[in-house]
Symmetry: C2
Subunit: 179 residues, 2 copies
């Protein structure tokens, strides 16, 4: 009877991958490199990346220099976009209209408005979605901003966004923010 | 890969049962009567009711006149209490600290604070919980207040809360609110 509502572990992978791709200069990152960065099993990651492409969160670039990049600017993709791509768009709560069942059930005519109980559940779910929609991939950090950017830049090398590369002189200097 | 995060159907049953029990005068309602009211399979409902008793949402009264009633006043039980009793207390999102993995992973010392990505997920979940915690079982209706109360009173008969019974003269008169 105990049932735990959990998001799949791949939500964590998906959001972290999007964060990493937001640190690039826009050139595609090969799947193998993404898998290595987070030490993820590449076959599973491959399925996840396809799902994110299908949901228009990522785009894939074919060819020897191909890979994955964000489908839009990092400030135009919300965490909700990523979570819904992986977790589906279906509602958490499904009203089966049990208020219409039984010997004294309400009539369909009495049920033109959503059940008050379902409404409470839907509103809570909306609060969850709104909170995720308020955060953009561009806003994400894994740690303090400097530490996160440095970690990405070390891996991405010349693919890193200008100003994020180690020793870069952009507004998000790495060394000074690492303290 | 597509995974849909859904609450179990029994959440709907549980909240509706609590709503019905909030309409009583406090005397226990037999399990069979609860199952009949919502046309629910009694063996499944039995397991659910036990879960709700274990979570201190309901209390069970043994004996021939026994049954189930709310463990506390209906304004002292929140919808979150009911949902958590059925759906578990575990978080929706589980951070596996993948920021610490891979060749340039963050060090444990750099991860004393929660991952910024996990934090976004936790805050969204908190918004969901807070929305459910803001609604008490006493606040619930399945329809307009009068229609809901009338439906319960018709089933509960003399067990119905004073003022809710058909023809009652309490503040929640049935007939006048049914329009």
């Amino acid at each position: 009877m105990i049932y735990v509502m959990e998001l799949p572990q791949t939500v964590e992978w998906a959001v972290h991958c999007c964060w990493l791709l937001a640190q690039t200069d826009g050139s595609p990152v090969p799947r193998r490199r993404l898998a290595e960065f987070f030490d993820l099993p590449e076959p599973y990651l491959a399925k996840l990346l396809k799902t994110l492409v299908a949901a228009d969160v990522l785009s894939s670039v074919p060819g020897v220099n191909g890979g994955y990049r964000l489908a839009r600017r990092a400030d135009q993709i919300t965490v909700l976009d990523v979570v819904q791509a992986v977790g589906g768009h279906t509602a958490m709560f499904h009203c089966a209209e049990i208020r219409q069942r039984g010997p004294v059930g309400l009539t369909p005519a009495q049920c033109r408005r959503p059940c008050g109980i379902a409404k409470v559940m839907y509103e809570a779910e909306l609060a969850w979605r709104n909170a995720l929609a308020a955060v953009r991939v561009a806003d994400l950090t894994e740690n303090a901003a400097g530490v996160s950017a440095d970690r990405a830049a070390r891996w991405l090398g010349s693919q890193a966004r200008a100003g994020l590369a180690p020793g870069g002189s952009g507004p998000q200097r790495v060394e000074s923010e690492q303290a």
